[in-house]
Symmetry: C2
Subunit: 451 residues, 2 copies
């Protein structure tokens, strides 16, 4: 008898699992059905700001594999199909065909829940008005772009200075809008320590963005049905368009309603094989919570990289393999204006909250030898545990070539290296690519002197 | 009584040690005398090709600290002073003042030998002719540049396709010369496997360099006293200037003559505190041999990064501290034409020679998300041990942003990570800086499938 794998959600987590399972078991052995609510599969959600900003022109470029391509590879990918409930005791899901407006029940042997995440929405008047956009799915991205292309907004307010918020602010500046960024905290990008976040605020202001800090949105003001401004405790900020940049929360509702365990983070709980507490129900992607290797605690980290890795692990495990997800260390990177911004492990604040006795050091050097043309500033902050010297985290802000150095520190955090040992690692050096003491070594040496 | 530290050689190893020692002990407690044969201290030898190529215009830019600056910091730096012999039993050196043409005997309590390296010279007729240059010291670099500026050579032959050879070939192309690169092996850059070296050869040819492989220089042909061509078994290659790019060997002669132990590599033997087998005689920089952490064997690795780290360790240890040099893993990087080229650990060939049962995988992907502008090719080769999966080495060739990814793999090699584990590490991703699966992860996954 042919087994059936049903996948809810046709983006990174779901489709990576489906593809991996397909490679490991043939169609006459395993049927794979994917239900995707939107019209797209396997798209690069992280690319949306660049599509809105017209850095990427064709939305098809963001689609790694269309439903047709998946079907040709033996995966029954059904778009515009929404799963409305899961019955774990009966091993079935109820599926709604959004075009035909019909509903049917689909049995599964294995089920993968890959329902992604939803943008955080502040609970303020007017938030559901026309012209207010979350940015999570490719549909969202196309809606924002269409609005910009057709309605020609002149002013924008981005509520929230997280990754997507910053990237969208820059995208809208590229499109000629006057942009205000509204952030409740003293600095944008709260995943960095405030001193590092300040570098980002400066860069954004340098690009003409009105960065409004320590200020909350109180209401979206309307002109008829359309957004006109965002009210704050201070000034009202003009806005022909509002974009939500407050980050996302795991979309665990469908799972929770079915009795599949969801953690405090809102993410679905799985073991390291990505199986939920309900047998033969798996979960992957932005809808799950995973273990942070430094704190040991679960967290929700909405990132395509994790979704892909987790999906791959599910694809292996549902086909009889044994793959394990080793957890995350909170690595992230982005490009804001001309700055590359990376982080991994814990910030100084996070280390304190997690109960570590931590020290921190910040250094500034250059991306290349100082005498080499286009040598540019790079600032590295490292956080280490007092006593052991263990590297707990790193943050990097700098110009071209700076950002990817975060991966060097990520591997060090992953291996629980002591800062003093990192300072002696054999890293590469050539004048066009690094000063003699690479920024990572300088920072490690500095923080090692403090532990 | 004031102790005296005598340092032979005023570049990276010597001056880093002197500076570190000075920071740790005051001048009324420790006298520090440095003898440097040339007219420069603390210069960036690695920057010489960029000075010759006119990427850097002022040789002073390559000098991190002048003799005067060192003296102001309490280091008695004496340029144009050559140590002609060491008497370890009497704790003294014989020093020749090259300007005054006088000689004196200098007592030391601690001695640091930091005599650097010398360019390899093929033993062929005419090699000592005018117009043939090794490139090791800043004096060498200035001599090459002066020759190019004043003699206006039109053709050049670079003998040997090592790092300096490739960098000098490119520099001379920049200066408008027609350049031939002569390499005995099937590919330039023999520190890479041949398949990766082939990518370099292609790039060099694309820049108009005549890459002549599997061909040895037989003689330097003269026109009077001046070089005219380089004879090979095949064609004679026109050369108004000849540059040696065969790499360097440790300059251990002075030490060996004094009975200080020198290893098979030609480098001075030290313990991990950088002390030689002769008590209170230390060594650092290109003149020493150090342990390769992957093979466990000693090797000579002439690189400013090692010299600086070793010098710093000597500076700490001669002043009562206890610092240890942990060895190297053969990390190196360069920029050749538009390619960034990095390596770490062992190549496939080296792994075989070292007795490892090794597998290798090569992948090609892009430096950024494929849909993002200026996304460029990156090729990564990884070598792993069969059975354990341990990463033994990595090589990277690619365009802008590719090279420094070698550091990520270097930390993985350093920690003896298995390729399968590396494939799951939380590395950074954002479309302007990386595809979703970073090249390092893709390569690790591929080689993990083979072990």
């Amino acid at each position: 008898m042919v087994d059936r794998l049903v996948v809810i959600g046709g983006d990174a987590g779901g489709m990576t699992a489906a593809s991996q399972a397909r490679r490991r078991r043939d169609a006459d052995d395993l049927e794979i059905v994917v239900f995707e609510r939107s019209g797209f599969t396997s798209y690069a959600a992280c690319g949306i700001p660049y599509f809105v900003g017209d850095v990427v022109q064709d939305p098809d470029d963001l689609v790694a594999r269309t439903p047709e391509e998946h079907r040709r590879r033996g995966i029954d990918a059904r778009i515009h199909h929404e799963v409305s409930s899961i019955d774990v005791s009966d091993h079935a899901v109820v599926v709604r065909d959004l075009h035909a407006e019909t509903e049917h029940r689909q049995h599964y042997d294995d089920l993968l829940v890959a329902t992604g995440a939803v943008p955080r929405r502040p609970d303020i008047p007017g938030i559901d008005a026309e012209g207010v956009f979350g940015v999570q799915t490719l549909d969202d991205g196309m809606a924002v772009r269409r609005f910009v292309d057709e309605q020609h907004p002149e002013t924008a307010v981005v509520i929230g200075g997280g990754y997507i918020g910053l990237e969208m602010a820059e995208a809208l500046v590229r499109r000629g809008l006057h942009v205000s960024l509204l952030e409740q905290l003293p600095q944008p990008m709260s995943t960095l320590d405030p001193d590092m976040g300040a570098l980002i605020a400066d860069a954004m202001r340098g690009m003409g963005i009105d960065v409004v800090l320590e200020t909350a949105a109180r209401a979206v003001e309307l002109d008829g049905r359309r957004v006109r401004a965002v009210a704050t405790d201070g000034a009202s900020l003009p806005a022909d368009i509002v974009v939500l940049g407050l980050g996302v929360t795991p979309n665990g509702e469908l799972a929770a309603a079915a009795g599949i365990e969801v953690g405090e983070t809102g993410g679905i709980v799985t073991d390291d094989r990505m199986e939920t507490r309900s047998a033969r129900v798996w979960a992957a992607g932005d809808c799950v919570e995973v273990r942070h290797r430094v704190t040991g605690k679960p967290g929700a980290f909405a990132l395509g990289t994790h979704a892909n890795k987790e999906g791959r692990i599910v694809g292996i495990n549902v086909t009889g393999g044994d793959a394990r997800f080793p957890g995350v260390i909170g690595t992230a990177i982005t490009k804001v204006c001309e700055l590359e911004v990376g982080r991994t492990g814990l910030t100084e604040s996070e280390a304190g909250e997690a109960g570590f006795d931590a020290v921190a050091a910040t250094i500034e050097t250059t991306t290349r030898a100082s005498y080499y043309p286009d040598s540019a500033p790079i600032t590295v902050k490292m956080v280490a545990e007092r006593g052991t010297g263990r590297l707990l985290g790193a943050q990097i802000v700098g110009r071209e070539g700076a950002g990817k150095r975060i991966d060097t520190t990520a591997v060090a955090v992953w291996n629980e290296m002591a800062a003093g040992d990192i300072a002696n690692v054999d890293l590469s050096y050539a004048p066009p690519l690094s000063p003699l003491w690479d920024a990572v070594l300088v920072a490690a040496r500095r923080v090692a002197e403090m532990v």
